[in-house]
Amino acid sequence: MSDSTNTIETFANQEYKWGFVTDIEAESIPRGLSEDVIRLISAKKHEPEWLLEWRLKAYRHWLTMTEPTWANVHYPAIDYQDIIYYAAPKSKKDAPKSLDEVDPELLKTYEKLGIPLKEQEMLAGVAVDAVFDSVSVATTFKEKLKAMGIIFCSFSEAVREHPELVRQYLGSVVPSSDNFFAALNSAVFSDGSFCYVPKGVRCPMELSTYFRINAKDTGQFERTLIVADEGAYVSYLEGCTAPMRDTNQLHAAVVELVALDNAQIKYSTVQNWYPGDKEGRGGIYNFVTKRGACRGVNSKISWTQVETGSAITWKYPSCLLIGDHSVGEFYSVALTNNYQQADTGTKMIHIGKNTSSTIVSKGISAGHGQNTYRGGVKILKGATGARNYSQCDSMLLGDKCGAHTFPYLEVKNTSSTVEHEASTSKIGEDQIFYCRQRGISTEDAVSMIVHGFCKEVFRELPMEFAVEAQKLLGVSLEGSVG
């Protein structure tokens, strides 16, 4: 317990140094995981008994599980007792007072990504009082949604305001026992998004985490649940192009999507967590379980992702095609540069009749990056008329990186059609020179060619995200083609 005493003292001294009187909760949680920590988390969030029990059940199950090691990624063993599972609110006094105090390299990146100044301030955690145009925007926005019966709020708020809905669907797509990291998440999840779109309602705007205030402090164990009732439509954007740092290295999120009859969910992600330095030190581990259940007839779930960050990415956004005529889609661009590693892909499980799935995966490896695509297409016995198309393309920039492909095709129904294509390519020096001879810089040339490579995936992103994603790829590839 001396650790916590030290922390409190440091806190106290800081306050004294700056001479502020404050109402900051000078509370610190010891590192490590135990039932007590979970009870504490649940208590701090004022959660109902059923949710605490749910967490504890997950935790007890987690204790019986072993960390999986089959992925094509390598990292030093994680000490689960060396993690702080509850994030204390950041002290405002530590925050930079203006952009002048922020790392100029970081600012340069914001510039290149075209992020407007107000947003830069927010992202850099500048202690600005009036970032509150966004508060008023968020408020009008929420009222509009409310008028249509759409619920969009933080997960914690949903537990308080709509417990029946949460309880009905939580864990129904990704049960706590599903895998090691899902179990961990279920025990200690911090916060995330909740969205429910009622019957026949088409959500009129793209929902994004930007509109959830305090989104940025909850990244560690995010939990998201989106439900589209019959005939509903919603498009959700997760993440942002700005590089995100976090003192917590392990990120293990869980995302569950449920689409009922004739409903459609479009889930887009742009992820740029800190990828580690050029030597491969530091960087976030992003171990995510994302799954969508197309429960209804004619339901559709599309996953689109652009992953450029994290030291290690391990995720397989998947679709369970349960309802007849349901459709699952996965469009992905994954980039590994320097010493990043990614083992990512998808699982499409065809269960109902006449279901179809499309997989387009673009992997770009640069530097010493190792990029692995792992795809599972499973056609169960009763899945008559199932169709799948998979395309897995790799681009290698340089001769020190790697691209690996592990496609799994398990077909148990003879009336199905399964197609798989794969290609590997690189950007030649002669292609770069051709562009340069036309006045296009090397960076722009690489960006252009990579964009051409990723076009099919970018096309699936909501427009402003697509523009940002293109810039992000350019920034992430800087210096990779000499």
Partner: protein, 272 residues
């Protein structure tokens, strides 16, 4: 003031010296032809001028518009109006011709202090030039050179030249691989672009191209040096006599005198 001034240029690729002291002056509006046997260094000269770093300059200087050309990055040279029509234009899958050319043109315009063009304005601007090179708008939407025939690739090079309006255009064996009709079309395009603000260096192996693109000056490059210069008649002379007639041989070729009389100790490569 000459547009391009090359003085005693030496260059190597790997550890082989290819250019062994080139001197050449090109003024505004002039068309210079550079001819020579295989291995003489013609394409090397074109690549060195455009800034390909596979080729290392080991001596001499190149001044372009009073600037030190060798100090400039390839894209800098391009933005200053230097254009290379490649001998083997490379394919760039996924990037449409239109997107590529618009990006290139906007870089040039930026350098000149002009506004960048959007897709609509760009299409309007290139309409005329497309007609000149008989390019179909559909070709614009295809990825750069991807699936193009040899002739289409060469036409695309000249089309790009027409759009970018360079001050110095280097045509590297633009005629190679072309049938007579394609050759005429390409030559037409090149001729339409001649003017007092445009200089050209036409690198070619065969004299035939020069029937269509009539040069102001002809130079013969052999073994890394310009061994002979003259007016357009020089090209016709070469047509008659071949390189050997001027005493110029490809690397490895043996001049007739030596084979007849191995012990004569006569001169090696002669100069007519």
């Amino acid at each position: 003031m000459a547009l391009l001034e090359i003085k005693d240029l030496h260059a190597r690729v790997g550890d082989r010296e290819i250019l062994k002291g080139i001197d050449l002056t090109v003024n505004a509006g002039e068309v210079h032809a550079i001819m020579g046997p295989n291995g003489s260094g013609k394409s090397t000269l074109a690549q060195v001028l455009s800034g390909r770093d596979l080729y290392v300059v080991t001596g001499g200087s190149v001044t372009y518009d009073s600037k030190d050309l060798l100090e400039m990055d390839p894209e800098e040279r391009a933005r200053e109006g230097l254009f290379l029509a490649f001998q083997y234009p490379v394919e760039i899958p996924g990037v449409s011709n239109m997107y590529f050319l618009k990006a290139a043109l906007n870089q040039v315009r930026k350098r000149q202090g002009l506004e960048e063009l959007d897709a609509m304005d760009f299409l309007n601007l290139v309409r005329e030039k497309m007609k000149l090179m008989e390019m179909d708008q559909a070709l614009l939407n295809r990825p750069v050179n991807t699936g193009f025939s040899g002739g289409e690739k060469k036409r695309n090079e000249i089309f790009q030249m027409a759009v970018l309006e360079p001050r110095l255009a280097i045509l590297d064996e633009t005629d190679s691989g072309l049938d007579i009709d394609a050759l005429k079309l390409v030559a037409n395009g090149v001729n339409a672009l001649r003017g007092k603000d445009r200089s050209m260096i036409v690198v070619t192996h065969y004299q035939r191209l020069l029937n269509y693109i009539v040069p102001d000056f002809v130079h013969v490059l052999a073994d890394g040096r310009l061994v002979k210069s003259g007016g357009k008649e020089l090209a016709l002379q070469l047509e008659e006599s071949g390189y050997a007639g001027l005493g110029i041989y490809e690397e490895g070729e043996v001049p007739p005198q030596q084979t007849n009389n191995l012990f004569a100790g006569g001169p090696g490569v002669g100069k007519a």
